[in-house]
């Protein structure tokens, strides 16, 4: 599979290194320092620039890409890049990191696959202490009432 990852933070770098074992991975990142997270030996292709820039996306091979991950630290950046990937380039497998649980909920409602790290982490920690088996990702997206708007 050809995989495109936008953002080489802790999430993006880890994901890239995990996926590169079995897939062709390209990472888009504009900060050269962030690439240090990949170490010196890795099998990821790196394209410098912003994933909101279509020229950069094309250089990163989005036209032949099977899955797109938007994992920068900016929720809105991720949401916009993901929509460019889906609407302009027709990528069906699009996964978006969205820190704000309510914003994630809004975009899930219109058909996007959003993962909220804090909700996932809290839910898994709860299952751990309760001695429950871990569940599918989507179950962790259900927010306690207090957090709903």
């Amino acid at each position: 599979m050809n995989v495109l990852i936008f953002g080489c933070g802790r999430t993006g770098a880890t994901l890239g290194l995990l996926l590169a074992k079995n897939h062709a991975v390209t990472i888009i990142e504009q900060n050269p320092d962030a690439l240090k997270r990949l170490g010196y030996k890795h099998n990821c292709k790196v394209v410098m620039g912003s994933g909101l820039d279509e020229d950069v996306l094309i250089r990163a091979g989005i036209e032949k890409c099977d899955a797109f991950f938007a994992v920068t630290r900016g929720d809105n950046t991720n949401l916009m890049a993901a929509q460019i990937a889906r609407l302009k380039f027709g990528i069906n497998q699009v996964c978006i990191k969205v820190a704000d649980p309510n914003r994630a909920e809004a975009y899930r409602n219109i058909g996007f696959f959003c993962i909220t790290p804090s909700a996932l982490l809290a839910g898994m920690m709860k299952d751990w202490i309760d001695g429950q088996p871990y569940q599918p990702v989507d179950t962790y997206n259900i927010l306690p009432k207090e957090l709903e708007v």
């Binding site: 279509e54 916009m80 929509q83 704000d100 914003r103």
Partner: protein
Amino acid sequence: MYIILIGGGNVGMNLAKRLQQRDHEVLLLEKDPRQAQRLASFLGDESVYLGDGCETSVQKAVGFGRADVVVAVTGEDEDNLVVCQMAKVMWNVKRVLARVNDPSHEEIFRQIGIDDTVSATGIIFNLIEQQIASDTLIPLGAIAKGNVEIVEAFLSSRSPVAGKKVRDISLPPQTNIIWVNRSGEGVLVSGDTELRDGDEVVAVVPTSQAEALRDLLEPTKV
């Protein structure tokens, strides 16, 4: 009308002031506390709200649900896109307007359903283009959601259509020459009008045919 503006930079601030003067109920959202304070002294406390317009809690607090218009004018296209999209999808706001800083992003805004966009970069670019005399087409304006353009072209003596009557020129489909500026005066064009060297020709052309029109008016390159 209740108008919510997101982004308290120069554009947002001056826009809010103008709208206030037209007696609209205006609320300007700004996430930087110091900037919000400055805005409040300029626009009044009741017209400024400190908060991030992308947060659902803020959207609820300021009443996105009863807004007639939501206008996003921050310097970041991704923020403007998300605010407008949430206003439409979550709060059913009838009219949303977005500032687009990078003109190449206008298409994705449209694909998402944010039809009203303003790109200062695009407008200034067009104005600069119009000041540069050349044989090529200069866009004067777009109609029908940008699918049809009104363009101007300067005819040099080497243009293959100079000296021809309009009816003898085989224009691309759906295209018409409507006006000619000739030595400072305007001439309404009919089939009998003869185009001359030095004319500024104004035409209506579907965007898909603009290239064909350019090829027709330009001297053939050697």
